[in-house]
């Protein structure tokens, strides 16, 4: 028995080493760095250990804006993309022609580089030549300065992100829909069930594990939004930083301002927020299934 478990550990060792070195160690170091005041990356020295970085962080207007923006972003992007994805997955699952073509179309955003998509969307959002404003003009709506005005920048980011995150959600919902027995739908038909009630009472409960999964993953990813901002606003965080997010803030503080202590503190704050929300989410969904 003992020999066997030793072999097991040896097999695990390479992966364990990689995880320890590239995930656990940086995590611990980041937490430590967040408490080092006056950290110098050149010689690893620091002036003191304390909450100075956190004080600076929370008194920084830009960080508070980043937190607010990110929260608004999560609140809109996650539920909207799940809802839309659900509807589209149900549609894709029904008897329509050219199903394969639609499935490919809807999955494209997932396999395309976010930078490329961001550039194209920045053209779609262009206030002068953009496709979106063109379509809006058919309804008599004036050209909206999507990427030029702080009032609309966050909205543009949210629209873009909902579109992008739908692809993965559609995929897992489609897979989930396959697991619902077709006899249930037949029974519902015999029972003269209107389509919306079929959706609410049979379809949605049937794939509720997938929905829960999409929600947690979506929430975690949404809190870490960076690439979308970067690619939509041409390497900035929107007009007057109106679309700045927490990760963007971290990146900026770390690489541009070389303010490693504050960047680490921000990273720790983000980690705590995501961890807390995930735990709450798990508790709620566990209670539901119990």
């Amino acid at each position: 028995m003992e020999k066997k478990s030793l072999k097991g550990y040896l097999y695990l060792l390479p992966a364990l080493i990689i995880i320890l070195v590239f995930t656990i160690y940086p995590l611990i170091k980041a937490v430590l760095m967040s408490f080092y005041e006056g950290y110098s990356i050149i010689n690893g020295s620091f002036d003191a250990i304390g909450l100075g970085n956190y004080k600076e962080l929370f008194s920084d207007k830009v960080f508070r804006k980043a937190l607010t923006n990110t929260s608004i972003y999560v609140v809109f992007v996650v539920p909207c993309s799940i809802l839309l994805s659900l509807l589209i997955a149900v549609l894709l699952n029904s008897k329509i022609r050219c199903k394969g073509m639609f499935q490919t179309l809807f999955f494209l955003p997932y396999v395309t580089s976010v930078i490329a998509i961001g550039i194209v969307w920045s053209w779609i959002f262009n206030s002068n030549y953009g496709l979106l404003n063109y379509v809006l003009s058919w309804f008599g709506i004036e050209a909206v300065p999507w990427l030029n005005s702080p009032d609309y920048a966050l909205m543009a980011l949210i629209i873009f992100s909902i579109w992008k995150s739908m692809a993965f959600d559609i995929l897992i919902f489609l897979a989930g829909l396959q697991t619902i027995s077709p006899d249930l739908y037949n029974a519902a038909r015999v029972d003269a069930t209107p389509k919306w009630r079929v959706f609410l009472k049979i379809t949605v409960p049937g794939i509720s594990p997938m929905i829960a999964y999409a929600f947690i993953m979506g929430m975690i990813n949404a809190f870490k939004v960076y690439n979308e901002v970067f690619s939509l606003f041409k390497s900035s965080a929107g007009p007057a930083n109106s679309a700045i997010t927490v990760v963007y803030y971290i990146y900026d503080k770390f690489y541009n301002s070389a303010d490693y202590g504050v960047a680490s503190a921000a990273a720790v704050v983000l980690f705590v927020i995501i961890l807390a929300l995930t735990m709450i989410q798990r508790a709620v969904s566990d209670k539901k299934t119990a």
Binding site: D183, L184, A187, R189, V190, D191, A192, T193, K201, S208
Partner: protein
């Protein structure tokens, strides 16, 4: 509600699952659609329900042609093989569901649901979810749900196949009881002939999309119209062998079984049910090659001039492997079938 099926056909390309079926089911009858897998019985049921569209033919409920009417408007109740209970609703909600959809108010729907539950003996389980119920209980919920909207026709797809043996017997009696109490025209699909035989008013035996015989069970058992029906009904299965008629007698090989008249000489397919043999002092001598005991009965395997046959006898007989005994065939129990399988007569 009388059900009339006229020339009903369902074709998938060249393959005909149901081929020109004609059948009339009287009001209040419990009819079994019996047959092997792939004979078209479930297809027929789903066409009756309206879930499958027929390629040709018509279906009448009473005087009304319902062929083109969708399932939700046909006033039918359907019980699926795997029950198809809504997994995330309680029993109560499951049964109320068809009523809620038809805009019955909640109070009345609840009352009627409880009424149904009483009918199928489900009281006390109303708050449970389907996964907390046994197979038999789930089935009763499915039946209650099908009946709660007071349909004119009840359809059941292999209702007993997911139950264990003892439960099957209990449940089929329940189905019969409920059907009689409500008085609703009921059609159920099964591949189990014993099941069909025990509760149906009439059985329709199907093979390859065609109805072979439509008859009251006992009559069908005693007077099968063809070889298929004779072989399908009866457990243990009927003995079949090639019999020669010559010199006014039926022979099994060299053994003369019976003297008959009025039948031309030739080779025929003969069928003798295992219980049609009897132990007789003046019968032909046989030796038990193999004996299987099933509590009450003995199934003895023997050969009659190289023809392997079986006889069903009472276990009191105490014959063992290798034992010798004498057999005769009861009167009018030798069935003869001609070349295309139709019954010629019983001799």
């Amino acid at each position: 509600m009388e059900i009339r099926i006229e020339n009903l056909t369902k074709a998938y390309g060249d393959f005909r699952a149901v081929d020109g079926m004609n059948l009339t089911i009287c009001d209040g009858e419990l009819v079994g659609l019996l047959g092997p897998s792939g004979c078209g019985k479930s297809t027929t049921l789903f066409m009756l329900a309206g879930l499958t569209e027929p390629t040709d033919g018509k279906i009448f409920f009473g005087d009304k042609d319902v062929t083109k009417i969708p399932p939700e408007e046909r006033e039918i109740g359907l019980v699926f093989q795997n029950y198809a209970l809504y997994p995330h609703m309680t029993v109560e909600e499951n049964i109320m569901f068809p009523l809620i959809n038809r805009k019955v108010n909640k109070k009345e729907a609840k009352e009627r649901a409880y009424e149904m539950a009483k009918l199928v003996h489900l009281e006390g389980l109303m708050d449970r979810k389907p996964k907390a119920l046994s197979g038999g209980q789930q089935q009763r919920v499915a039946i209650a749900r099908a009946l709660v909207k007071k349909p004119k026709v009840l359809l059941l797809d292999e209702p007993l196949s997911n139950l264990d043996a003892k439960l099957r017997i209990e449940t089929r009696e329940e189905i019969r009881r409920i059907q009689q109490e409500v008085g609703i025209t009921t059609i159920f699909v099964t591949h189990d002939q014993e099941e069909a035989m025990s509760i149906s008013d009439k059985i329709a035996v199907m093979d390859k999309g065609v109805v072979q015989q439509y008859e009251v069970p006992q009559s069908m058992y005693l007077e099968p119209e063809n070889l298929f029906v004779a072989q399908f009904l009866g457990m243990p299965e009927i003995n079949t062998f090639s019999a020669v008629v010559k010199d006014g007698a039926i022979y099994c090989g060299q053994v003369k079984l019976r003297e008959i008249s009025g039948l031309s000489d030739g080779t025929y397919t003969a069928g003798i049910r295992p219980e049609s043999f009897e132990v007789r002092e003046d019968g032909f001598a046989v030796e038990a090659a193999h004996v299987r005991m099933t509590g009450r009965d003995l199934l003895i395997y023997f050969t009659l001039d190289k023809e392997p046959l079986r006889v069903l006898a009472h276990s009191d007989l105490q014959i063992e492997k290798g034992g010798a005994f004498k057999l005769g065939v009861r009167q009018n129990q030798i069935m003869l079938f001609d070349a295309d399988g139709s019954m010629i007569g019983k001799y």
